[in-house]
Every structure is written in C-alpha cells, then in structure tokens.
Symmetry: D2
Subunit: 108 residues, 4 copies
C-alpha cells in the first residue's frame, strides 16, 4: 500500500470520527434548528468516509472514484461546520478539510 493510500485511510478515519461526534453533539445543542445543516451533512460525510476507507482497505477497483466523491462531500461538510463556533463543529471542519485534501491526492 503506498503512502497516499495509507494517509487517506487515516484521514477518512479521523473525519468519520469527527463527523459522528459532531452529529451526536449537534443533537444535544440548545439551538438544534441552527444545526440542521450540520446534522444532515455529518451523516452524509460519515457514510462516504466509511465507504472510502473500506474501499482502500479492500483494494477496490473504484477507490479513486469513491475518494474523489468523498472529497466533494467532505468539503461541503467542512464549509457548513466551520460556520458554527461550537468546538465539535470547528474540529469537524478541520478533519473534513484534511480528509478532502487527502482524498484528492489519492484520487489524482
């Protein structure tokens, strides 16, 4: 397994963790309505990160295409999360942008 794939698996894992944590914490915020976009995108992003990570682990012939799509979804999720001051949103945004970058490098 080359370094780009290795790094991308790690970035997907960290993003998956951050998105699931953010999903859980958004649902417990005082103003849940304001977090609706985050909640939706956290789930989208967790699902595609889980698929991307597993596609690399199992040497899928589609891993580059899956990672290219994962990069787009991570970016959208990061852009939503970064607008919110909550610590879990800021951490999630950071993990999303790192993952988007690792996925684009992998897909290239």
């Amino acid at each position: 397994m080359n370094q780009n794939v290795h790094d991308c698996i790690q970035a997907c894992l960290e993003c998956l963790d951050a998105c699931n944590t953010c999903f859980n914490q958004c649902l417990q915020e005082e103003d849940v309505k304001m977090m609706a976009g985050c909640i939706r995108l956290d789930r989208e992003c967790a699902d595609i990160c889980a698929l991307a990570m597993q596609s690399m682990q199992r040497n899928s012939p589609f891993m580059a295409q899956i990672c290219a799509l994962c990069a787009d979804i991570c970016e959208a999720c990061g852009n939503e999360c970064k607008q919110h001051d909550h610590d879990h949103c800021q951490k999630c945004a950071e993990a999303c942008f790192k993952c988007a970058e690792a996925c684009r490098k992998m897909a290239a």
Copy 2:
C-alpha cells in the same frame, strides 16, 4: 428462501425508507429541537435495517441475531416516532412496528 425471510426483507426495506424519509423531514420541521430524538433514532434504525436486509439477502450465518437486534432498535424508533403528530413520524412508527414484528418472527 422461506416466507418469513422474504417478508422480513420487505419489512426492513419499508422501514429503511420510512426512517430515511422521516430523518429528512424532521430536519426541515419548524421545531427541530423537539425532533432530536427522532432524528437520532431514524439514523440508528436505518443503519440496522440496511444491515439486516443485506444479511438475509446474502444468507448470513448471523441473520437471526442481527434481526433480533433490529427488532429492538425498530421498537425504540417506533416508540419515539409515535409521540409526534407529523405524518412522516406516524408513518415511520407504523413501519418500525411492522418491521420489529417481522424481525422477531424471523429470529425465532
């Protein structure tokens, strides 16, 4: 494939659809905070229904155990959803209770 398995696959599919629809519509309600429990359980329930359905389709040696767990999660989701008057919640509760019953029959 016997009739119980066939019925259970169909019930899981309908429950999966109802939970994903309810998740989407809860996020668009005026009072999202009141729907936080639904949103959380809709995702839990969709995930286990998707796994249960696929485990039966691929003849998993664990399909009975997965369906037993699916029944518990469907029941919890149904109990939460039935407390809300929204049409999507009432429909989701109905699909969850039907799926719980089909899963228990399958697991027995």
Copy 3:
C-alpha cells in the same frame, strides 16, 4: 419525489438484492476461483447501491453524484457477471444494467 428518483430507488433495491444473492451463491459454486471477480464486484456494487438508495430516500444534496458513481460500478459488475452462465450471475448482470441506466437518468 419525482418519477426518475422513484424508479432509481427501485432499481437500486433490485440490484442490491441480486448482488447479495449472487455473492452468496458464487461462494458456493464448485469453481470459486473463477468467480473471484464476481464476488469482489458484487460486494462493491451492493455497497454503492445501498448508499445510493439511502441518499435518495433522505434527499441527500449529493444524490446525483452518488448515482453517477453507482452507474459506473453497476456497469462494471454487470460486465463481469454476464460472462458467467450461472443463473444468479445472469440475473445479477440484468439487474446491474437496469440500475446503471436508472442511475444515469437520475444523475442527468
């Protein structure tokens, strides 16, 4: 929900079912080695069909992109399966090609 989305959910569901059935039956064939490509692609295809189906059910902002990728994976799986005479492979190829077509129509 418009007709294309409705048809595509149905096509994904039928393809998911066919791929999981084919996966199970390929593993029980006399010559498993010959089926290795099918086994691998059946899993890839089932995973993306499950994601595509759920993305439409929950009104994901990425459903068109997910379906475009799903079409490519379905096509690859169909091309592999159609080379094998087993009934489960022929049925799977047919479901894959139908799903690829429905996904392309949805993504357009």
Copy 4:
C-alpha cells in the same frame, strides 16, 4: 468517553482493516475455494465492526447491544481465519479475537 469505549473503537478499527485486507487477499489466493468461508465472514465482520465503531462514535443508545453482537461475529470470523496459514488470515484472526474481547468488555 471512557477508556473501554475508546479501546473498543480502536479494536473495531483494527479488525475492520484486517478483515478488508484478508477479504482482498483471499480473493487472490491460488485456492480460492478453500477460502470461501473466510471471504464470507470477512465481509460479515467488516460490516458489523463498521457499525459498532460508528455507534460508539455517535453515542448510540444501542452501542452495548451492537458490540455484544459484534463480539460473536468477530469470534466466528477469528475461528475461521485461524485455520488458514496465510499471513493475512493469521493477522485477521488475531485482530478478530482482540476485537471480540474489547467488545465484550464494552458491552458488559
């Protein structure tokens, strides 16, 4: 998050990785037929580990039940894999047994 949950997430992740690696490599072995049981259980085990890991990350009310089921599936996969001398099977068996133990501790 307590230490048992943290350890269990890590064990699921390592098991997921080992199962997906083993799945890929089993499909490339000379004697694929002998690996059919591994291939089937690697997929089962990867699916439940992914669900268990995510259920802990998002603080699912069902995480203990999901981990109890995950322990059973990991054990079955480990018992199958340990019968094969391939390095990927031995590594997978080890990861499965560790994960089963961490899941039982978490579920207790």
